[in-house]
């Protein structure tokens, strides 16, 4: 019996104007596995994640995301994915709690207040939950964005540079969350410059260079491929 695929990507491509940001990207990921996406700045990691979350339109290629066709069934893809992006996707004038309660309500979930409180506790923002987001530091915004991502309870969680702006306890928080998500049988795709951490947390690794797949294989081998990443240490 074969394991269902969380991601089956064939020749995916995306251009901005006349420049191809991503071209001919193909890979697959089994359900419940974690994929580490590494590459230099501008190599196409964020574009790939946003394509897979149906935040951007695909210009060429095909992909099935948790069984749904990315090009023909974007709504289902959005239902089955949660993306932690560079932007926090939050409303500055509202409190952290209000942001999560509204997101929960928009998702049609029951007990939105309870869920919001749980997620605030999980990311270490319970004490500041009623403060406006505009008063938050970059690290706190990142934690709130993470809480929002987890609130979606999607089968595929995609994290774009999750360690960025976080302090060492924040790093451990991300590690713990990735492990917890995987224990629940959900899949994770993480774009990061933290190669050692990614190798320890993920099953598969994929290196992007100038929008193309330069290498893919077991995540444990990622540090050996660090030559591909020379000069691209994370500014987290």
């Amino acid at each position: 019996m074969t394991t269902p695929l969380a991601l089956d990507v064939q020749g995916l491509a995306r251009r901005y104007g006349g420049r191809w940001a991503l071209s001919g990207v193909s890979f697959s990921l089994e359900a419940g596995q974690a994929l580490a996406l590494v590459g230099r700045n501008g190599s196409g990691k964020s574009t790939l994640l946003r394509l897979l979350a149906a935040a951007l339109r695909v210009h060429a290629g095909e992909a099935r995301v948790c069984g749904a066709d990315l090009r023909r069934d974007a709504d289902t893809v959005r239902r089955r994915t949660a993306l932690l992006s560079h932007a926090a996707y939050t409303w500055e004038a509202l409190s952290a709690r209000e942001n999560l309660v509204f997101t929960s309500r928009l998702l049609g979930q029951d007990r939105p207040r309870e869920r919001a409180a749980q997620r605030l506790e999980q990311v270490g923002l319970a004490a500041r939950g009623d403060d406006p987001v505009s008063s938050f530091s970059a690290g706190m915004r990142k934690r709130l964005a993470l809480a929002r991502t987890l609130l979606q309870e999607a089968p595929l969680v995609m994290l774009d540079e999750p360690y960025g702006a976080l302090d060492p306890p924040g790093f451990r928080l991300i590690d713990g969350i990735i492990r917890a998500v995987r224990v629940e049988g959900r899949s994770v795709v993480m774009a990061t410059h933290q190669v050692e951490r990614a190798a320890a947390l993920c099953d598969r690794g994929l290196v992007l260079e100038q929008g193309r797949v330069a290498w893919q294989g077991p995540a444990a081998e990622l540090p050996l491929k660090s030559g591909l990443l020379r000069g691209s240490e994370e500014g987290a």
């Binding site: 959005r78 932007a87 996707y89 409303w91 998702l107 929002r148």
Partner: protein, 221 residues
């Protein structure tokens, strides 16, 4: 339906939290009315005759500030993209925002009426009808305004683009609203009010339907 009310609640709460901006828009609208009254001069008859037109002109100019501000909250941390990644129909997002903008513009119009009464002597024997007309006219501005404000939210020249796109489109709404307002202020011996109101309702219906359908397309990528 619950999702729609959640989205509407969020919009209204955002407007309440940024209410200081509303004050600046009210001051802008009142100043516009004041300047236009000076342009006409002290003739009470002329002032009263043109009051309807100037009221809607002040509301139109102020509306661009209100509409722009309503999208600012969605673009600061790309909240709109985050919303679009949730399994929520874009039409729900559009109608909740357009309805909240209608409420804000109607409030602005209602606040400007006493200013118009003082400056132009633009009182009416049918204040409730005038209020209903303001709500209807605000709806006619808010639907295309919300659509265009979304389209131009990330443009560098949004302050220029929004009026350029919006003003020509809402001319029928402004004409109908101005004529109906004038009839309410000056009297309606020929019973023309219902015809102008019908025109206004028709354009509101068209705008709310078409803009709701187009919103999903413009935010797709």
């Amino acid at each position: 339906m619950n999702v729609f009310f959640a989205a509407l609640h969020k919009e209204l709460l955002l407007q309440w939290r940024t209410r200081a901006r509303v004050l600046s828009v009210v001051v802008f609208g009142a100043t516009a009315l004041l300047l236009m009254s000076f342009a006409i001069g002290p003739d009470a008859g002329s002032l009263r005759q043109y009051a309807g037109g100037f009221l809607w002109l002040a509301l139109l100019l102020s509306s661009t500030l209100t509409l722009e501000a309503s999208l600012e909250a969605e673009t600061e941390q790309q909240a709109l993209e985050g919303l679009l990644l949730l399994p929520v129909a874009p039409t729900i997002l559009f109608y909740s925002k357009a309805l909240a903008n209608t409420a804000q513009l109607a409030l602005l119009g209602t606040v400007l009426v006493p200013v118009a009464i003082v400056l132009y002597g633009a009182g009416t024997a049918r204040p409730l009808a005038l209020f209903g007309l303001i709500v209807l006219g605000a709806g006619g501005l808010a639907a295309p305004g919300t659509l265009y404000a979304t389209m131009t939210a990330r443009a560098r020249a949004k302050q220029t683009l929004l009026p350029l796109l919006l003003f020509p489109l809402v001319v029928p709404v402004l004409i109908a609203a101005t004529k109906a307002s004038s009839l309410l202020i000056l009297g309606d011996p020929m019973r023309q009010l219902s015809a102008w109101l019908t025109l206004l309702v028709a354009f509101c219906g068209i705008y709310w339907t078409l803009c709701g359908l187009m919103f999903g397309v413009i935010v797709e990528d």
